[in-house]
């Protein structure tokens, strides 16, 4: 049986078309298109896609013809057979002599993992949106955009080469724009959407340039597929070539540019300013795009091209330091925010920094593992935040919340699971993945990076606990008329929160070394193993148990600090104004940098064009027109009605003829 991989993106895309049609045709009616139909279809197609992904795992197993080893020992020795990669080429895309690219998909280990939670969590968030956006007039349009986003994300993950991935890359950028600016009647949302799109675009430039340089390294004989690229880089025959100075420089340049693309999508320094502003979109958008899927594309790219990056150690140094710096900066910024979604946005940036840090020290599988767990706990945190906002009729300022653990128990329970995971308390999902990263950083990256990462972990615990305190545990501070409307979310919003909350607690067990559960690691070994082997595992350091204990101590320290600050009243709960000056300066630091480095040059150039070049060109056109007018006027004189003038001109013609005839006579 031929694998019909094209169905995986095609189904959500079809959902986009159907919902789009519903939105268009239902726009004339009073209330808009039918919510039931639109919501049902909007959830159905991603769900079918998810089922197909699961079947793809299992189907492979059948194709593989191995014996299913189901060990019903709960938790221990659970072995799931490895997925063997397979692909499907759809059509020849660009066929010139030197560049031969086919449009196709490839389902391998990395793609399989990503697809599981992209489609799975995607479906859950679509279900959540049905409840969250139920009253919104543009419901069908929202479901259409979400479906389109999912389709593009699947293409990104499933692509068999960088160019197919780039198609999905651009597509998710577009959908991000559409969804952030969904409530487009408010111009501020449109501005935030534009900002996201443009900053992404700057990253895309890096992606493409890096790809071109990579193609230079590979030579024209290699097709641009991931399989070919990894084989080329793993080939021992090319090791000498890669060690030579010019090729190494080319590889370094290429990877630096690709890194720029990754930072654009994953909101790292220097292209991180768009993510906090992206919170202007509806909460399901923030949950899906800016927590679980799109922002992880950068890390995905790094893991996909791990073999390439392994040959550019200088770039990896840069990656590690960018990750560490971003994580630290974002953690401090999250601490001073007052909007619940902004706190979570900076938390996302910080966690992405951790993932980049992991990749930078050469632990790509740890990075992807953190992607996996982060999708669960960040997802539930965002969904919970949405539930709180929904309950308080749109209130987003944490200084006006409090005491909600009694009013919204279910939401509180789900968010507590997410909080438990993110601060790294024992056996939660975040505990496993973050400690894995810290361990790798210490062993491979050195003590400096480790200390930065550890400090960031402490601050993470502080601000996340601050969030929980201000929203749930402290005294109620919300306005009375909001109080009268507080209600738990409907079931469609609850179910995803339960699932993700549960995942936050147990997802970490996919790779829990002390319990000898290393399915994830073995699963990823095929795709990122050789790169990691090249970079060398760190020499044996302190024992893992010790490191994990240090991690737990750091988390508990952070929690205690948060409670202490709250007791002292440092959180300024009763103030209502905007952020204080230093807080605002810190937050807008990178916006300022981008303004100077990016926007001012553009403004200067455009001023030059407007005030110098434009009048020049207009003047030239005018001069040209004037010349034509003069010439026309001169010619018009020949059409004179006066007899003698007419005759005179004819005689002039005669003279000209005579001159011609007399020319040859010496």
């Amino acid at each position: 049986m031929t694998p019909q991989l094209w169905l995986l993106p095609a189904l959500p895309f079809f959902g986009f078309l159907v919902n789009g049609a519903l939105a268009l045709f239902g726009s004339r009616t009073e209330n808009g298109p039918s919510r039931g139909l639109s919501g049902f279809l909007g959830v159905l197609f991603p769900l079918v896609s998810f089922i197909l992904v699961v079947l793809a795992w299992q189907g492979l197993f059948l194709v593989q013809d191995s014996v299913l080893r189901l060990n019903h020992d709960l938790g221990l020795g659970l072995r799931i057979p490895q997925v063997k990669p397979f692909g499907q080429v759809l059509w020849p895309w660009m066929q010139t002599g030197e560049l031969n690219v086919e449009f196709g998909f490839r389902f391998d280990e990395l793609a399989g993992i990503m697809l599981l939670f992209v489609t799975g969590i995607g479906t859950l968030i679509h279900l959540y949106s049905v409840g969250y956006m139920a009253r919104d007039r543009g419901f069908a349009r929202f479901m259409a955009y979400m479906n389109l986003f999912l389709a593009n994300m699947v293409v990104l993950v499933l692509g068999n080469g960088p160019l197919v991935t780039f198609m999905g890359w651009e597509g998710v950028g577009l959908c991000s724009y559409l969804l952030i600016g969904f409530w487009h009647h408010d111009a501020a949302n449109g501005a935030a959407a534009k900002k996201a799109f443009l900053v992404n675009r700057a990253g895309d430039l890096g992606f493409l340039l890096g790809l071109f340089l990579l193609w230079q390294v590979l030579g024209t004989g290699t097709p641009l597929t991931y399989e070919a690229i990894t084989n080329w880089f793993r080939d021992p025959a090319h090791a000498v070539l890669l060690a030579s100075a010019p090729v190494a420089a080319l590889v370094t340049a290429s990877t630096l540019l690709l890194l720029l693309g990754a930072t654009g999508k994953s909101a790292q320094i220097p292209l991180l300013t768009w993510l906090p502003d992206a919170m202007a979109g509806p909460t399901p958008v923030s949950a899906l795009i800016h927590a679980a899927t799109m922002v992880t594309s950068g890390v995905f790219l790094l893991a996909r091209l791990s073999d390439v990056f392994a040959h550019a150690p200088a770039t990896l140094q840069v990656v590690a330091w960018i990750g560490a710096a971003t994580a630290a900066w974002a953690a401090v910024t999250g601490f001073v925010q007052t909007d619940i979604k902004k706190i979570l946005a900076y938390s996302t940036i910080s966690q992405l920094g951790f993932m980049f840090l992991a990749a930078g020290v050469g632990a790509f599988d740890a990075g992807v593992f953190h992607v996996f767990t982060h999708a669960f706990f960040k997802g539930v945190l965002f969904l919970g935040a949405g539930s709180v906002i929904h309950a308080l009729s749109g209130e987003q300022d944490v200084r006006r919340m409090g005491g909600l653990w009694k009013k919204l128990p279910l939401t509180f329970a789900a968010m507590s699971c997410g909080w438990y995971a993110i601060v790294g308390l024992p056996f939660g999902a975040g505990f496993w993945s973050k400690d894995l990263i810290l361990e790798n950083v210490l062993l491979r990256g050195g003590p400096a990076l480790y200390l930065v990462a550890l400090a960031t972990a402490v601050v993470t615990a502080v601000y996340m606990t601050r969030l929980m305190i201000l929203v749930f545990w402290s005294k109620p501070r919300f306005s009375p008329d909001a109080a009268s409307h507080i209600h738990e979310s409907p079931l469609s919003m609850q179910i995803p929160m339960w699932v993700l909350g549960f995942g936050s607690l147990v997802a970490g067990f996919a790779w829990a070394d002390p319990f000898h559960l290393d399915w994830f690691s073995r699963h990823m070994s095929e795709s990122v193993g050789p790169a990691q082997a090249l970079l060398g595992a760190g020499a044996g350091g302190p024992s893992p148990i010790l490191l994990e204990s240090v991690g737990v101590v750091a988390s508990l320290l952070g929690i205690l600090v948060a409670f202490a600050l709250h007791r002292k009243g440092c959180f300024r709960e009763n103030s209502t104004g905007p952020l204080s000056m230093p807080a605002r300066a810190w937050t807008l630091l990178f916006d300022g940098v981008q303004s100077v480095a990016g926007i001012w040059p553009v403004r200067i150039v455009s001023w030059i064009l407007d005030n110098i070049l434009q009048p020049l060109l207009v003047g030239l056109a005018r001069v040209f027109g004037w010349c034509l007018e003069m010439a026309g006027g001169a010619v018009r004189m020949a059409q004179t009605p006066r007899l003698r003038w007419n005759l005179g001109l004819s005689v002039l013609g005669l003279v000209a003829l005579l001159i011609l005839l007399a020319r040859n006579i010496p």
Binding site: R644, W645, G648, V651, L652, L654, V655, L658, I659, L661, A662, I665, P666
Partner: protein
Amino acid sequence: MITQVYFWIFSIVALATALGVLVSRHPIHAALCLIGTMVSLAGIYSLVAAPFLATLQILVYAGAVVMLLVFVIMVLNSAKDDHTPRWDAFGWAALAPSAATGFFLLRVLLGADAAHSFALRSTDPPAARGTVEALSALLFGDRIGAWSFLFLVVGLLLLSAVVGAVLLAKHHLDSPSAPSTPRPGGH
């Protein structure tokens, strides 16, 4: 020898009277100068063994055409036309192309191979050539040829010209109003 003298006399008179036409104030003076030119030319024709043509020139051209011109000048008593200036700026400007035409014509004529192409080749004695008998033989000779046909066509042409002229002029003479003033609203 004597031919040359006569030629120079006739040509100078012809040029002088032609200039007279150019600069005359009154059309009548110009017409008289024109007659002078034509008669001089007739003289030159007779010098080049074209007696019939010379006679024709005086009888028809000088005697009939210019007479017609004079009659019309006299019919239009406002022919002196005080309003029209004799010479204006355009006049001076018009001299240039005319001079240029003359100059280039002369250049072509007096050029290198002019002497060769303009060599006198006729071997017949000059006096015998342009006589009435010779020309008639050519025109109406035993073959019905192009020339006789042309002769008939010219006759038709003259007829149609006369008819047309009468029509053109009569149209206005028929109108009830005075012939020299146009009707208001034109006609």
